[in-house]
Amino acid sequence: MSVKNTIWFGVADEISASTAATTIVLQDDVYVYPVSLEADTVLSFDYSQMNQVRAQSENWGKQFILLLKMGATVRSVTFPTGVKWNCGITPTMNAASKNYLVRFDMYGAASPATPTLLGAYDGSFN
């Protein structure tokens, strides 16, 4: 918790996950990525636009949140291989018409950008 700072953060345009594979393009100034789940899908992350953090010569890290929006039909979501889950628990998202929050904390070398991903289930809401 930063005690004095702006409390605002960036939110991406909603991403439609309507095919078997969905790529989420991560950006420097965005913290939350809303994803509309319209098909069973496998998620992957594209780090190519994270120019600010990748430009650092030393190791880098970033946190972001996926806001996964489940519609009336429950869709399955497969997270990128290699995510290390908090307490070893992969999020269970099996209720219709719910929004799920999954937080990622990633770090890695500046180039090539193949960071380590730490995932944590943060809760759900209707």
Partner: protein, 249 residues
């Protein structure tokens, strides 16, 4: 060697909130927050730095005046100016151990910032007493968030609240927009509820606030305990969620 430099982006940083006066260092670059600290000690046994690695951590001490903290006597302070913690407020302290530059065991510390505790830290609270026709109704309490502050303390025994013991609580999103991106912004604010009085306080979160896996938007605030709730939004405050972070002594 594992090192992490969190980039200067709009992503919020996170800290480890300490529930005791021991600082359990387990990785480089960590930030710890301790509210009303006592005699702080450092336990660095959980992290083994690489050869020549500069180990740093940050300490945020929230001092409400309930105690006067102390830090390890062996720390060497920038300009020999160890903070005396005479004023309540938030002290942000950086600590580093440049192993090869000194002797591998010496911790160098500096007070980076001090934010005096003031009414502004509490945000703008609006209190409204509501009474029904012969039936007591919980009074309304509304906290207007300030875009510069992520953390708020709310003493439900504040003299302004007339000894009320039942509240309906809500938050107002911070002001401050930047035109085109207005709808594309979110916020997170953390509110600590407590009472300095002797009565339990019933705190109900307004029905406009959505529930994030929270067992009922109602908490009983008991004397001596603090209840921390995060309020956040993904649409510039049009929809606000609440998430219970925890309750601690």
């Amino acid at each position: 060697m594992l090192r992490r430099n969190l980039a200067e982006t709009s992503s919020p940083d996170y800290t480890t909130t300490l529930t005791s006066d021991v600082i359990p260092l387990t990785r480089n670059g960590e930030t710890f927050l301790r509210r009303d600290p006592g005699a702080m000690t450092l336990n660095a046994s959980g992290y083994t730095p690489g050869a020549g690695e500069i180990v740093t951590f940050k300490l945020i001490l929230v001092c409400t005046g309930a105690s006067v903290p102390s830090l390890p006597f062996s720390w060497i302070w920038d300009g020999d100016n160890a903070p005396e913690f005479v004023n309540p407020g938030i002290y942000v302290i950086s600590v580093t151990q440049p192993q090869e530059a000194v002797d591998g065991t010496t911790w160098l510390a500096s007070l980076d910032q001090f934010y005096p505790y003031s009414e502004q830290m509490l945000g703008q609270i609006e209190y409204r007493r509501m009474t029904g026709a012969g039936t007591p109704v919980a009074s309304g309490l509304r906290l207007a968030l300030d875009e510069e502050y992520r953390a708020y303390d709310v003493d439900l025994n504040d003299s302004r609240f007339d000894g009320e013991t039942e509240f309906v609580f809500t938050v107002m999103p911070p002001s401050g927009t930047d035109g085109d991106n207005y709808q594309k912004r979110g916020f997170i604010a953390e509110v600590t509820f407590y009472t300095t009085g002797t009565d339990d306080i019933s705190l109900t979160f307004h029905s406009d606030i959505k529930n994030l896996d929270f067992e009922g938007l109602w908490r009983k605030i008991v004397p001596g305990k603090k209840c921390v709730v995060q309020f956040f939004s993904f649409d510039a405050g049009q929809t606000i969620f609440a998430s219970l972070c925890g309750e601690f002594q």
